[in-house]
Structure formats: structure tokens, C-alpha cells
Amino acid sequence: MGNCLSHFCSAMGNCLKGSASDDVSLLRGGDGTRESLSSDQIHSSEIFHQQLSESNVPEYYPSPNVRRPLNQLTEEEQIKIAKRMGLIQHLPSGVFDESAKPRECVICMIDFVPGDRVRYMPCMHVYHVKCIDDWLMRSFTCPSCMEPVDVALFLTYETSGHR
């Protein structure tokens, strides 16, 4: 794995190094930089930080069945997680209002009530932000249609670019 990553790094050159350091600081963010974030970002970062280990270090899932505190993640894993967090924040979110179609969040099986924070997936499925974001950190797929979210995201960028 080590060789593979270093090969990848050298292939990407400075470009990756630059983005890597940004992403890592994104993972560690939340202590000093909060004031500069929008309320939406603060909300999301609270979600990502809600699982704390006993030593109060946030825990993440480098793969769906592996849970590890931040200080035990490899750089590669941190980059992967930070990228995932960035992509999740690109998914539109909003506040549920009664005119919307779905009645129930199929993850928690609780009816949406006006004012609930919901996330709209590229495939048009809707979930509570707190329900879907935790899942997306483990698996980047829509639980209802199993569409890979990253592919769908790129497709929406492409179509909006042609407009």
C-alpha cells in the first residue's frame, strides 16, 4: 500500500500535496476556525464530530467496518475522509416543508416534520441530514436506490455545465 500511495503522490506532484494539506486541516478544523464558517458548515462539522472516543478524540470510518480515532488515522485515510466530508457538504440540504413529497425518512422511519433539516440526494431521495450524513461517511451510496453518490454528483456537474 505504501508504494502505491507514494507512486500516486509522485504522479500527482505538487497538486496533491497542496490539496492534501488543506484537506487534513479540514479534518482537524473546528477549534480555532469556527467563527469563519457559515452556520451550515458548523452544523455539518458538529455532525461529523459527534462520535468521540473515550479520550474525546473524534472517530472516523476509513472503511465502513473500521472505526478509529483521528489520531490513529494514516494520512491517506485522513485525505479520503476529508474528501468525503467535502463532497457530502456539496449535496444540497434544506429545511423540510409540508409541500414536499416524501413523508418519512426511511433510515430512522420517523415522519419528517416542518423544520427538520433534510438532505437532497442527486437521485432525488431525501433523508434527515443527521441520518444520511452518518451513513455517507461509511458508504457513499444512496440507501434507497444504491446509486453511488460520487458518480451522480459528477453527472450533475456535467449536465449543469452544458446548460
Binding site: S63, P64, C131, S139, T141, P143, M146
Partner: protein, 167 residues
């Protein structure tokens, strides 16, 4: 914090729903009334399959992180099936977490999703009884027998059914 209250709420909801509107093919309850994470189910051997006539007791153990993580399922009644190991542990792809597939047999779409409920899990297990998957067997001997010596396989299943009726 929120994690365990969310999972227990969701499991309670499913339990009361299943009590109100039972689903054909199985019945479900708790092993111990105070622990919502440990379920006992009774599966009726699906009609027109080798398992017809059997009554199979199984336990489901849910993690606190349910529905983000799948439960484990274990048959308590002895059962001979390619996808149930000799300890009774059920090995089907929807109970495996995404990214958990060491051997590459399963598509991500066939694995665990947070929309699965006791009902959808049991429907999958009942369809697995009717239609074993011998590509990734948990009981290699049963899978081999199912492929190569079907009469003997049938005989072992019939024995399990008789025993399950006596329990």
C-alpha cells in the same frame, strides 16, 4: 449519546409494527423484554421448498449503531444449509457491511443498507432458504452435498425439520 436512543427507538417501532401487523412466514419478539437489541424470531420453513414443515428459531443481535451497521443472525434450531454455518451463524450478503467483502463476491448493492429492517432481513433469509447461494458457502460440506449429492442433502434437511417439530 444519540446513537443508542435512535437505534432503540427504531427497533421499538419495528417491534410494535410487527406485533400489530404480523408478516407471513415468521414471528418476532425479544429474547428478554428489557433488551431491545436482542430478538428471537421463529421462521416457518417456506412452503414448496425442502424446508417446508420446519420451525426454525433464530436470534438477531443488533449493534447500538443500527441502522448504520447490520445485526448478526444466528439459528438456534439446528439447520443444514449452505449459507448457514455449523454454529448457526447466517452468512448472507445483506448482513455484510459495505466494503467488508474480502473475497469480492458481493456487489455493494447486495450488502447492508440502513433501510433494512427486521422484516426485510427475514424476507431475505426466507428466500435464501428457498434458494441457497453456493458461490460463497458458510457450510462448505452442505454446499458440496447440495451440488453433488442432493439426495443426501435432502435427507439431512428432513432430519432437521423433524427435530425442529419436536422442539
Amino acid at each position: 449519546m444519540g446513537e443508542s436512543s435512535q437505534s432503540s427507538l427504531l427497533l421499538r417501532k419495528q417491534l410494535s409494527e410487527l406485533n400489530k401487523n404480523p408478516v407471513e412466514g415468521f414471528s418476532a419478539g425479544l429474547i428478554d423484554d428489557v433488551d431491545i437489541y436482542k430478538w428471537e424470531v421463529l421462521i416457518i420453513g417456506p412452503p414448496e421448498t425442502l424446508y417446508e414443515g420446519g420451525f426454525f428459531k433464530a436470534h438477531l443481535f443488533f449493534p447500538k449503531e443500527y441502522p448504520l451497521r447490520p445485526p448478526k443472525m444466528k439459528f438456534i434450531t439446528e439447520i443444514w444449509h449452505p449459507n448457514i454455518d455449523k454454529n448457526g451463524d447466517v452468512c448472507i450478503s445483506i448482513l455484510h457491511e459495505p466494503g467488508d467483502d474480502k473475497w469480492g463476491y458481493e456487489k455493494a448493492s447486495e450488502r447492508w443498507l440502513p433501510v433494512h429492517t427486521v422484516e426485510t432481513i427475514l424476507i431475505s433469509v426466507i428466500s435464501m432458504l428457498a434458494d441457497p447461494n453456493d458461490e460463497s458457502p458458510a457450510n462448505v460440506d452442505a454446499a458440496k452435498e447440495w451440488r453433488e449429492n442432493f439426495p443426501e442433502f435432502k435427507k439431512k434437511v428432513a432430519k432437521c425439520i423433524r427435530r425442529s417439530q419436536e422442539e
